[in-house]
Symmetry: C2
C-alpha cells in the first residue's frame, strides 16, 4: 500500500500540437486566421495593471452581461468558463450522475469519453452512419444524459435542427448538451429552445468564430435552474476561474457584431473555395458547416499525406482511429494559406 | 424521475465580497495593496492581440520555467493552475480516492470541506487547540490524505517546520498537501523537502505576495511522479487552463525578485505596526505570519465591529462559525489604509 494506490489514474486528452516554430502553416487546431475585434487591442493598451492585485469579479458580470445582450437572453441563463472545455467538464460533473450510460457518437469530440472516464460516468459511444450522419433514433433509448456536437467534430457534419429538437424533446429526464463550438460557420443554433426545454444546455466558445482561443473563454445557455446547478458546482471547484483580461476583453470581443460577421464570412468564403480545390484534387469529404474540412483521398493514405504536409511546414490534424485513420482535419486559414496547402497537396497527390 | 435527480447538488464556497464601489477600504480578501512588478505593465502594452487567436501553450512552459528558475527546482517538479484553488481542486481529485478520511483542521481554509463534498471524499476536521495551534499527534492516525495550510488561514498561525516534516514523514502512504498561500510573509516553506518525500505536494499562489489575484495563477511543487499524476488529471479536465496573458505576465512577475522582496517587506512592516496599534486598542490575536491579522476584542462582539466598520466603508472578513464568530480577519493594506482602520476601530471600541 502506498499513496499511489489512491491516485485517480487517467489517460488524458491529447490537444493538437502548438509548435513554437514561426512561419509554419498551422491548420491543425481550428483557430481563426484573423485577429480578435479591434476594441480588444485598444482595451489591452489602456488596462491598468494595478487592478491585477485584486481578485476578479467572481460573478463575471461584465462578460455575462455582454453575452446576454448579444444573444438576447437573460443573464440568469448564461454560464461562463475557461474555454468550452471547462464549461463541458463542469456540465459533465454537474448533470451526469446516473447509473445509466451517457450517449454520444463514436466519432465526435474526443474529450467526451475522457471526461466520462475522469468522472467515472458510464457511457456508450453510438456509431455514426457510414456518411458520418447521426441516426436520431439511436438517442431515443434509456440514458443518463446525451452529448451532441453540432456541427460535429471532426466530421464537420450538421444535424438538422428538427432532429436536435427531437432528441431534446424525447429525453425530458436527461440533460442534453448541444456543443455548438462551430455553429457560427453555417449551422443552426438551438439557443432559442432553452425556454422551451429545461433539460437543454447549449455550449459555445470564443476560440473559433471570435478569434480568442488564447484567452480561454467558453459559455453556455440553459434555463435558470440548470445554470444555477452548474454555477454551484463551479463555485465549489474554483470561485474565480476567469481572470481580469478574459472578462474585460471577452466582453468587448462579443460586442462587435460587425467585425464578427465580416471575419466569419471571410472564413466561410475561404472554406467554400477550398472545397472546390480539394474536390478537383480528388479529395472526398462530407459537406462541412464548420471552419475545417474533414477529407480523405482515395489514392493516398492519410498518414502519408499528413507526413508529406509536415515536411512542407504545413500542419493538419489526424487521428490513429480505425474508422477515420485515412482522414485529415484541415482547419480553414487565410486564402493565402489555403492556396499553399492546395499547391502542396497537388504535389503530394501527384495530380 | 427527472434530470434533477442526477444533479450533483452542492453547497458552494462563498468568496469574499468584491464590491464595485470605489474609495472603499478593502481589507477582506487578503489582496496585496501594491501593484504587480513593473515588467508586467510594460509587457501588457507590448502584447500582440493577434496572438490571442491561437491556443496558448498547453505545457505552460514560459511560466513553469520561470517558477522552476526562481525556486531552483526542475520544471518536472512544477504544476501550474488557475489560482491555487484550481491547483488544490486538481490535487483533491487526483490524490484523495481512499475510503479513509482526509484530515484537516476544523478552523482552516473553508474550501477544503467544499472540495471534499464536491468530490465525495470522506473527511474529518480535527479541532485546533485553544490557541489555534495544531497538535501534530492528531495527524499520526490512519487517513486517506492530509491538508495543512501553513501558515493557517484565517488564524495566521504558523506550524513550525519540524512539525510539518514530522506529519509528512509519518504518513508515507498518504499525499500530504501543504498549502503555503501565505508563506512569503514570514513562514518557513517545505519546498526543499519534495526531493526527500515523494508524498509531499506544496501549493503556493500569485494572489498574495505577487500582487496578481486578478490573473489567477497558482502553482505546486512535488516529486516528478506526483506532478505527472496531477498533470494527467488536469489534461483530462481542460488542456488549456492558463490563458496567454496569465502565462506571459506571470513569468515576468515571478522573475522580479527585488520588487517582490521590497513589497513583501513593506506588507510585513505594516503588519507589525498594525499589531502594535491593535494591541493598544485591546484586541487579542495569535501572532500572524501572513498578510492578515485574525483578531477579536474582549468588550465588543465581532459582528458589531464588522457592521460598524462597514458603515465607515471599511470591509474586513468575518465568519458565522461558532468557534470564531467574535473574530475579524483583517487584511494588511497600505500604512494609510491601516491608519484609517485603526482610527475607525478606536471610535467603535470607544477607547
Amino acid at each position: 500500500m502506498s499513496w499511489e494506490s489512491n491516485v485517480r489514474k487517467v489517460v488524458p486528452y491529447t490537444p493538437g500540437e502548438q509548435p513554437k516554430i514561426k512561419n509554419i502553416i498551422k491548420l491543425n487546431t481550428n483557430e481563426n486566421p484573423y485577429p480578435p475585434a479591434p476594441a480588444v487591442a485598444e482595451r489591452l493598451k489602456s488596462m491598468d495593471v494595478s487592478d491585477f492585485r485584486k481578485y476578479p469579479d467572481p460573478t463575471c458580470s461584465v462578460l455575462v452581461d455582454a453575452i446576454a445582450d448579444y444573444y438576447k437572453v437573460d443573464k440568469k441563463n448564461v454560464f461562463v468558463g475557461v474555454g468550452s472545455d471547462d464549461v463541458l467538464a463542469m456540465a459533465f460533473m454537474t448533470f451526469f450522475n446516473s447509473d445509466k450510460p451517457v450517449l454520444f457518437p463514436d466519432i465526435t469530440y474526443s474529450f467526451y469519453d475522457v471526461w466520462a472516464e475522469l468522472f467515472r460516468i458510464p457511457y456508450r459511444q453510438i456509431p455514426l452512419k457510414e456518411d458520418f450522419s447521426i441516426d436520431t433514433e439511436d438517442y431515443l433509448t434509456e440514458n443518463g444524459g446525451i452529448v451532441i456536437a453540432n456541427p460535429n467534430a471532426p466530421t464537420g457534419v450538421e444535424l438538422e435542427r428538427d432532429s436536435v429538437e427531437k432528441i431534446i424533446a424525447m429525453n425530458p429526464d436527461s440533460v442534453v448538451i448541444v456543443d455548438e463550438a462551430y455553429i457560427d460557420f453555417g449551422g443552426h443554433s438551438v439557443i432559442d429552445l432553452i425556454d422551451k426545454y429545461d433539460n437543454l444546455l447549449v455550449v459555445q466558445t470564443f476560440s473559433k468564430s471570435r478569434s480568442m482561443a488564447g484567452m480561454r473563454i467558453g459559455y453556455a445557455f440553459g434555463c435558470e435552474k440548470l445554470i444555477k446547478y452548474m454555477s454551484d458546482v463551479k463555485f465549489s471547484f474554483n470561485s474565480y476561474t476567469m481572470n481580469m483580461p478574459a472578462l474585460e476583453l471577452g466582453a468587448l470581443a462579443v460586442a462587435d457584431k460587425e467585425y464578427f460577421e465580416k471575419t466569419r464570412d471571410k472564413v466561410v468564403a475561404t472554406r467554400e473555395r477550398a472545397k472546390v480545390s480539394l474536390r478537383e484534387l480528388g479529395f472526398e469529404f462530407a459537406d462541412s458547416k464548420t471552419n475545417f474540412i474533414f477529407a480523405k483521398h482515395p489514392n493516398k493514405p492519410g498518414k502519408e499525406i499528413f507526413d508529406e504536409l509536415r515536411k512542407r511546414d504545413i500542419i493538419v490534424r489526424r487521428w490513429d482511429i480505425d474508422r477515420i485513420k485515412e482522414y485529415l482535419r484541415i482547419s480553414i486559414g487565410t486564402d493565402e494559406e489555403m492556396d499553399k496547402l492546395v499547391a502542396a497537396l497537388k504535389e503530394i497527390i501527384g495530380a
